[in-house]
């Protein structure tokens, strides 16, 4: 151990200070007063409990009371809570005050012991362990040793295997959505098909793929299918010809599921034509095919190829050409 102290020159450690008597130790009147204070706190606690009982039994759920600063409060919630708070808080305060003012509170000194065991104990322990292990004679029993290794090696596998049925294998579920060629875009949540001519410049519509009447949507479908329709003036687009071909008369469709962490990206700023994700502030430029212009997202939002059917309703012309939503290991992003 290196020499790390400078004890020789240290200032002297004074003794533990004497216990100074408190007012209640000396003056019977102070003692009486302290007693009364403690009793008052305990009484207040009891009053709190009573308040809780009364509130529970007599105050209806839909009564309200005006409290300055806070506004109209639910009376039952407030009185139940305050009753409970008083009942607990003052009980605690009473006990602490009792201890502080009236209980004997002389400080005492305990000695510490070093945690290291005595050399004898340590030696004995090592010997016991060694003797025990020697008795097993593992070194000589090679057959047992090898078969035990085999057994233990496999032992850990069944518990992991047993968890296999927690869920299905991913297969292509992250790569695919329910968008197919010819599927109509319908508004969320009321499932109305959308006429292209009904969309004004500056309009957005939250849409989902049409499903047969009477069927229910799975939440896991709503987690990947939502599409945001936005109408711009066609001259606002700065898209590659391929991406421009995927729009219809100024209407462009993006996956609403953020390419970063899957939140619903739908804060569309009509003037700047930017889309903002409220979770982590990734910002996408709609005119440039939802290119990321700010924030942590690394990929543009996938664009859906849309057109209209013979009745003028918007339909998908093809499925998404890439997986929607957040990245995952198997995703081919090249």
């Amino acid at each position: 151990m290196s020499e790390v102290t400078n004890e020789i020159e240290a200032v002297e450690n004074p003794p533990t200070p004497q216990h100074l008597p408190r007012a209640a130790d000396l003056d019977p009147r102070a003692e009486k007063r302290a007693e009364q204070q403690v009793a008052l706190l305990f009484t207040l606690s009891g009053v709190g409990s009573l308040m809780l009982i009364i509130a529970y039994v007599f105050i209806p759920l839909n009564a309200f009371i005006f409290i300055p600063v806070m506004g109209k409060q639910n009376t039952q919630q407030l009185t139940l809570g305050l009753g409970m708070a008083f009942s607990l808080f003052f009980l605690g305060m009473g006990a602490v005050l009792w201890a502080k003012k009236l209980m004997p509170e002389t400080e005492v000194v305990n000695q510490r012991h070093e945690f290291r065991s005595s050399p004898q104990d340590r030696e004995d322990f090592v010997k016991t362990v060694k003797d025990g292990i020697a008795g097993v004679k593992l070194g000589r029993r090679t057959l047992i040793k090898r078969s035990l290794g085999f057994s233990l090696g496999l032992f850990a596998l069944p518990p992991i295997l047993l968890l296999r049925d927690l869920g299905p294998l991913p297969k292509k579920q992250l790569e695919t959505t329910n968008w197919k060629a010819g599927v109509r875009l319908v508004s969320d949540p009321d499932n109305r098909p959308i006429l292209a001519r009904d969309l004004q410049v500056g309009a957005v519509v939250q849409t989902l793929p049409e499903i047969p009447a009477g069927t229910e949507r799975l939440l896991s479908d709503i987690a990947k299918d939502p599409v945001l329709l936005i109408r711009l003036r066609p001259e606002d687009f700065q898209l590659t010809p391929a991406k421009l071909a995927m729009t219809h008369d100024g209407i462009i469709a993006f996956s609403k599921i953020c390419s970063h962490m899957g939140c619903a990206v739908a804060l569309y700023e009509q003037q700047t034509k930017h889309l903002l994700c409220p979770c982590h502030q990734s910002t996408f430029d709609v005119t440039r095919g939802a290119k990321v212009i700010f924030g942590p997202a690394a990929r543009p939002l996938p664009q859906l190829d849309i057109t209209i059917d013979d009745q003028g309703y918007l339909i998908a012309r093809a499925p998404f050409n890439q997986p929607v939503g957040p990245s995952f290991w198997e995703r081919n992003s090249q």
Partner: protein, 528 residues
């Protein structure tokens, strides 16, 4: 002997004849606990955990952990007739139709927030005072484990109501899991029981939230407290206090009354908060569906810094060989916290490696006397705070009319600049405080009284400080830096040249100090 004493005696006799507990109990009841307000922070943690168990049990009596679709038909009109999960509907039912249910929900949630806050405050106290040093490293690691468990437990609790905010949190969790290379997609599918949001996660996280994790919590907290009990509490330096003793109040009656009373006070404060302040009004968020989101979707405060890191991450992804690696998620959400938590867990060992100090320590450090450690702590706090601020950047922007883009950019830059700056400033501040301590010991307190000397000059009268104070200000050790010459005392070349150089550097930085006042210097001044 009164009848009461007699009957207590009978019970004690009954127990002792079977368990032989008297000897052990006698020893335990004589245990001494030093008094300091900061020693109560750990108690706040333990008590809020008990409150969480009590209020949580109450909630399970009505909560229905199921993702089954139901049509809401409760008393809250603005949600009537909507399709939602049974778990959300039952949480609404607890809030509006069970008397005291909303109060209990709020107690549970406030207690969780305070639990985590108290853990952090307790951890900072232990860190800054050096209470983690030998022999308490195990307890430090247990504490880090409890903190980590707290994050997970809190996240699951936040997810159980299955409202829009819960779901948004889970969506982000699922993305983090998915981002893990190789196995992420599979883990996510197994955890959620399919593609997000899956069909099985509510019952699963319910079991984890109310059984498995609280069980581990209970075991770890018991071990944590038993170790404190066995190793005896640390104490601040003071008159009569040494490394060999512990000065304080015995368990009976003062400590018992105070600690017991404090449980009710903590419960009372949390109940008061729950009575007057609304927390997580799930009825306003609406049921979760993945196509919706609210502006200002935030996690609870203890996850806020992670969210802030995720927000400020650069848009980095690697696309190669048909695979995608999302650095923009992996770095802020897994790698950085992984490094921070591992570093925290290993810190006691790192520090003792730097100082070469392998002795037991029961007297606490005053933070100023260990400038390097204190500066490191303040640096870490600065880092987390900047991340936390960015985690709430949209709320700050809305309430103080700022731009999220400028908040984001300033936190992106300051997360690299401010923590090192905080380190330097704190270290200097510590050294200045040490200098002030030295002045105080040698020259006493300034009294503000001026006295005219016979020579005509004015001198301020300095009052000497008490012997107790003098001891507190000088009792600490000032270890010298390690010396690791390339050739050791046996004339043998020391292995690990680079490792030794690093260790030497760190050791020198750690040993920087203003020499404390010594008895000799004091004597010289007195004789002067």
């Amino acid at each position: 002997m009164t009848t009461v004493e007699k009957s207590i005696g009978n019970v004690a006799n009954f127990v002792d004849e079977r368990l032989g507990a008297a000897g052990w109990m006698k020893k335990s009841l004589n245990k001494v606990f030093p008094d300091h307000w900061s020693f109560m922070l750990g108690e706040v943690c333990m008590y809020s955990f008990v409150i969480l168990l009590l209020s949580g049990t109450f909630l399970t009596l009505w909560y229905d952990p199921s993702q089954r679709d139901v049509i809401y038909d409760g008393v809250y009109a603005p949600l009537k007739g909507l399709k939602m999960s049974a778990s959300y509907a039952s949480t609404l039912n607890i809030s509006f139709e069970v008397r005291g249910g909303l109060l209990m929900r709020q107690i549970h949630h406030w207690a969780a927030n305070i639990f985590m806050a108290a853990i952090v405050a307790h951890l900072l106290r232990v860190f800054f005072t050096g209470a983690f040093r030998k022999p308490r490293e195990f307890n430090w690691i247990l504490g880090i484990l409890l903190l980590t468990l707290g994050f997970v437990e809190g996240l699951f609790g936040y997810s159980l109501p299955d409202d829009l905010l819960s779901g948004t949190g889970l969506r982000i969790t699922s993305s983090i899991i998915q981002a893990i290379p190789l196995v992420g997609t599979y883990i996510s599918f197994f955890f959620f029981g399919g593609a997000f949001p899956g069909v099985g996660f509510i019952p699963r996280i319910f079991t984890l939230h109310i059984l498995l994790i609280p069980g581990i919590f209970l075991a770890a907290i018991t071990a944590h407290v038993m170790l404190v009990w066995y190793q005896k509490h640390t104490q601040f330096p003071g008159p009569g206090r040494t490394e060999k003793n512990v000065v304080g109040h015995p368990i009976l009656p003062v400590y018992m009354a105070k600690a017991g009373g404090f449980f009710f006070i903590v419960f009372g404060v949390i109940a008061f908060l729950s009575a007057v302040a609304s927390i997580n009004p799930i009825w306003l968020y609406g049921p979760y569906t993945p196509g919706q989101v609210s502006a200002g979707s935030q996690p609870d405060w203890y996850m806020g810094w992670l969210d802030g890191l995720v927000r400020m991450a650069p848009p980095l992804e690697t696309h190669a060989f048909g695979h995608t690696i999302s650095w923009n998620i992996l770095i802020p959400a897994l790698i950085v916290p992984g490094i921070i938590f591992t570093g925290m867990a290993l810190y006691p060992f790192i520090e003792s490696w730097i100082t070469g100090d392998k002795r037991e320590h029961h007297l606490l450090d005053r933070p100023r006397n260990v400038p390097n450690r204190t500066a490191l702590g303040v640096m870490s706090i600065t880092f987390v705070l900047i991340a936390l601020i960015n985690g709430g950047n949209d709320i700050l922007a809305t309430n103080f009319h700022m731009s999220i883009n400028s908040i984001m950019w300033s936190t992106r830059i300051s997360i690299f600049i401010l923590p090192p700056l905080a380190f330097i400033i704190t270290k200097r501040l510590c050294l200045s405080l040490q200098r002030a301590d030295r002045e105080l010991v040698l020259h006493g307190k300034e009294t503000g009284r001026l006295v005219r000397m016979t020579s005509g000059e004015f001198v301020e009268v300095h009052e000497p400080i008490s012997a107790e104070k003098r001891w507190i200000l000088t009792s600490h050790e000032q270890p010298a830096a390690l010396e690791l010459p390339a050739i050791d005392s046996h004339g043998v070349r020391r292995p690990g040249v680079i490792k030794n150089r690093i260790r030497l550097r760190l050791s020198r930085a750690h040993a920087v100090a203003v020499p404390k006042a010594t008895a000799q210097e004091l004597k010289e001044i007195e004789n002067h």
